[in-house]
Amino acid sequence: MASRKKRTAKISEEEQSRRQRFHFQAILLADNFTTKLLPLTLERPNVFLPLVNVPMIDYTLAWLESAGIEEVFVFCSTQVIDYLNNSGWYSHKDFTVKTIESPHESTSAGDALRYIYEQQIETSQIQDDFVLVSGGIVSNMPLTQLIQEHRDRKKKDDKAIMTMVIKQSLVTDHELFIGVNPLTKQLLYYDEDKICLDTSLMDRNPSVLLCSDMQDCYIDICSLEVLSLFVDNFDYQQLRCDFVEGVLADDIMGYKIFTHEISSCYAARIENFRSYDMVSKDIIQRRTFPYVPDMKFSGNRPLKLGRQGSYRASDAIRSPSVHVGDSSVIGHATTIGSGAKILNSVIGNGCSIGSNVVIQGSYIWNNVTVEDGCEIRNAVVCDAVKVSAGAILQAGVVLSFKVVVGRDFVVPAYSKVSLLQQPMEEDSDEEHLLSSVDLQMESKLGPDGAGYIWQVCDEEWKHSVAPIPKDKLAEIIDDDDTEDESVVIPSGNANSINNDVNDLYDFEIEVDGTFLRAVEENIVADLAVLEINSLRLSYNMESAHCAGAIFYSMMKLAADTPHSSAIDLYKNAASIITRWKGLLGFYVKQSDKQIEVISRLEEMCQESAQELGPLFAHIIRFMYEEENDILQEVAILRWADEKAGADESDKVYLKQCEPFITWLKETSDDEDD
């Protein structure tokens, strides 16, 4: 009896230790590493942007808590730490929030993870596999089981360092192509732009499931190796295009990433205005339950769910003639004037909306004043903005904090307006910008307006709140088709040749650059050989191409060096050849490569007949000479033989060399005798 008791005690002890060891932890990268939400994120970190009147970070934290995470490390700026201090998040039972203040130099997820790793060495606060989420994630998926699955897989195969959550996407306009092994769900391919499968991938995997309808949720279960990989590869910046693609491309370490597809629960990440719009709609339509406006899940004040899926705060004041359509949200202490129409929109707290205003598909944040007769369609309007009477916001407009739109002013579609000036590419130093704010300086928003209209790129419609116009949608597909046009050439051969030619061209440019750098920095020929070899391998070129490309670069350099006469040019060429014969010599050991060099010279001579033309024979001779020994007589004679059958016009340079070749022939005959 006693022994049994002991045993149970022992088991519970084990259980205890196991639980200690398998703490469920998460890292939340709450800093903003994206520029897609500019100009709003200049003034407020993106995790604070309200999503249906609740800051995004509250959704993420509430989800993590309910998903079974016991400890979360929030990597964030001081602003966020201040917010968390004032919020109730620290006082939750069984859910610890710890903050890691982001150092100023961290500008990407990679920097953040490297910083966390540094801390990890001292504190080893992260004990085991953890969940890595970025800011702006709204989800309701359970995590503990997934973490357990990941741990079990990791036990069997210690190369399985990451499990990535993906979800079937309902929209088709985003571009993400992933390839998955249909049986093991291992991620084999990840690209946001093109589909280009390596043949070796096909050799290793008899079946690859390519998906274009999947959405990456940016929720990853990571093992500790992920952190150290970021440290080892200090150039990794982003989680996806650097880390994931890097792991997939690297077969030396053999690390594997697996995917987990969720179907019944919700997960999405806000990265631009389009996803902001989509996630907001999902919240209103209760797909994210229990994180919906009428539930209290954080410091929010719940709203009342009314008819037809619209939410309204009990203290919102509106006149009876207001029409509030389906799926709209109206916040606390907001007043709405008579005759206003609110359709599919979110209106925050403390706003005052004038009469006869039309607001459709828009997001109005807190304390916004919209005067009578305004029209707002598919726009995002931030805190404390004032839209004066009669103004119109066209589709896709974003008004940042405290902007004032003048009377009857029409804000053009897709424009972004902020009190801050658009940071220049060179200096994006925020403080400098803040000091330069001058409200009186040329306001483009009408006589009494305030704010700068930012320059936006032409592709803004892709990421905007407004739905993509029909013609653009057709354009996308047309684009694709025109791009494909070259592929449709019969039998497909022409295309591959085309590609080869392009590759060759790119390769030559690269070689040229490398060579010039070598000349500038006066590198030893052996090192230059190494560099060019690596280029050759990456472009999959033959060494004959190398020989041609290097020689071309050398001659180009000679021709580019200032010279007054042909003799000068010859001297230039000669000195370059002498200097770099080690490099060129490495690639022209066989006679066919030497012939390539000769034909290359011939080509160049034809292109610039005045300059190089007359020197052809001299250069050939120079390269033949004893001390250089780049060209051998076999090659020269073979070239001459090949050329003998060519057209008369092609023989110009052959004729130029005739005396030299006859001399060569004689000497070789002599030797034979």
Binding site: T172, E175, F177, G179, P182, K194, I195, C196, L197, D198, T199, M202, D203, N205, P206, S207, V208, L209, L210, C211, S212, D213, A474, I477, D480, D481, D484, V487, V488, P490, S491, G492, S496, N540
Partner: protein
């Protein structure tokens, strides 16, 4: 069934020299002592496809094939033999016989197939989807025929290079991508528009194209007319159709065109909504072709379908010497249901008229043709010996094919080799992985490995 069947029987394939000759075109090469073409004809007959056109390259070959067909199966099948010029390619051959094609759909079968996959299933799939083309796919054989051909049988150890790279939709009904492994130097590039329309695409390298296709006749003729440069069905026509399936440049049937012409453009929006609501309600999911078609103006699509044969089915194309050896071995061995013979209790077939000397053993998976004579103390293992062969004493034949009327002297040892008809091996010849041309005489006492014997 309103299907016309075209059998592309080829001519004197250069891959198979020296097995083929003026007397024996590729279609008549013996597999277990029957011409390979007979396997295809049996397969078609068993699927009730009896209206056949056999296309042969070269007049001479056509005469030979025609002669054999009229002697063998004129009473059971309605077979027409058409001769086309040599080296016109498969597309060229079809172009040449285009005026013979009248049926709505055409089934195209390569004449060198030994298989038990029902072509009728391909035809049925084709009809069900109203496809422009349907391709039969089968599992890539593990140790199967390697393309290298070569002279020796040594390349069995070589892992087969992935021949075809095939992209399928998620239900494995449609062909979204096809490329020959050898063509792709480095990367597989997939058209975005097709992938986006289909959502998912499964890229398989463990399937291969079996060279059995069903084409809509109008589509096939249209493509052949429009693209005179196309030479090969597999390398030109099929990839072209797959590539352009969402931007069809060919007219399908006349009435189809009318339908589409009226339907598109006008009620585009409506269509779109209907389709979308269909998707949402999950009721009778339309194929992505329809979705795509309705989403845009004036675009036509055609469907490229696949039929994937069961893995347990046997399939080999006789297109290399290695494949010839494999087929002969399998038909009397693992896949003996194909041979149409009944095997003895020893898993071999010895024709009653064959004569065996004393102490001669014929192992399992062997075949000994009519009227052949084998001397004393011989041993035959896993080999096919044709009709009226004369084999001396103390002869060892392993893993080999000996064709009709061959003569093998005393004390010979033959392994992994092919001895063509009327060839003669004198005494004590040792051959390993060799091919001996028809009528060739190998001198006494010689020893050879991996060689090809042919008159210059």
């Amino acid at each position: 069934m309103d299907f016309q069947v075209v059998i592309l029987a080829g001519g004197f394939s250069s891959n198979l020299v020296p097995l083929v000759s003026k007397e024996v075109p590729k279609a008549l090469l013996p597999v277990a002592n029957r011409p390979v073409l007979s396997y295809v004809l049996d397969l078609l007959e068993s699927n009730n496809l009896k209206d056949l056109i056999v296309v042969v390259e070269g007049e001479d070959a056509a005469l030979k094939v025609g002669g054999w067909i009229s002697s063998a199966c004129v009473d059971r099948l309605h077979v027409e033999v058409a001769a086309v010029a040599e080296n016109v390619g498969t597309a060229g051959a079809l172009r040449a016989i285009a005026h013979h094609l009248t049926a709505k759909d055409i089934l195209i079968v390569s004449g060198d197939i030994v298989s038990d996959i029902p072509p009728g299933a391909v035809a049925a799939t084709h009809r069900r989807h109203d496809a422009a083309v349907t391709v039969m796919l089968c599992a890539q054989p593990v140790s199967g025929p390697s393309e290298s051909g070569g002279s020796g049988g040594k390349d069995k150890t070589k892992k087969p290079a992935c021949d075809d790279i095939i992209g399928l939709d998620s239900l494995k009904q449609f062909l979204l991508y096809i490329a020959k492994g050898a063509e792709i130097k480095k990367d597989t590039r997939v058209k975005k528009s097709i992938l986006c329309a289909a959502g998912k695409m499964e890229i398989r390298s463990d399937l291969m194209d079996s060279h059995i296709y069903a084409f809509k006749r109008s589509v096939l003729q249209e493509v052949l007319d429009q693209k005179p440069a196309f030479r090969s069905l597999k390398e030109d026509v099929l990839p072209y159709l797959v590539r352009t399936q969402l931007r069809s440049e060919i007219f399908s049937d006349q009435n189809n065109v009318e339908e589409n012409g009226n339907g598109n453009g006008k009620n585009n929006m409506q269509n779109n909504e209907v389709v979308l609501s269909q998707i949402l309600s999950n009721a009778s999911l339309p194929s992505f072709h329809q979705v795509y078609e309705s989403g845009l103006d004036s675009r036509k699509t055609h469907k490229c379908c696949v039929y994937i044969a069961d893995e347990s089915k046997y399939f080999v194309r006789l297109n290399s010497i290695q494949a010839f050896m494999d087929v002969n071995r399998d038909v009397i061995g693992d896949a003996n249901h194909l041979s149409g013979y009944s095997f003895s209790a020893h898993h071999n077939i010895v024709h009653p008229s064959a004569e065996l000397g004393s102490k001669t053993t014929v192992g399992p998976h062997c075949m000994l043709g009519e009227g052949s004579q084998v001397g004393d103390k011989c041993s035959v293992k896993r080999s096919v010996i044709g009709r009226h062969c004369r084999i001396g004493s103390n002869v060892k034949i392993v893993n080999s094919v000996v064709m009709d009327h061959a003569t093998i002297g005393d004390g010979c040892s033959i392994q992994g080799s092919v001895i063509c008809s009327n060839a003669q091996l004198q005494e004590r010849v040792t051959l390993r992985d060799c091919q001996v041309e028809a009528g060739y005489v190998v001198c006494a006492g010689s020893e050879h490995k991996g060689e090809t014997f042919a008159r210059k």
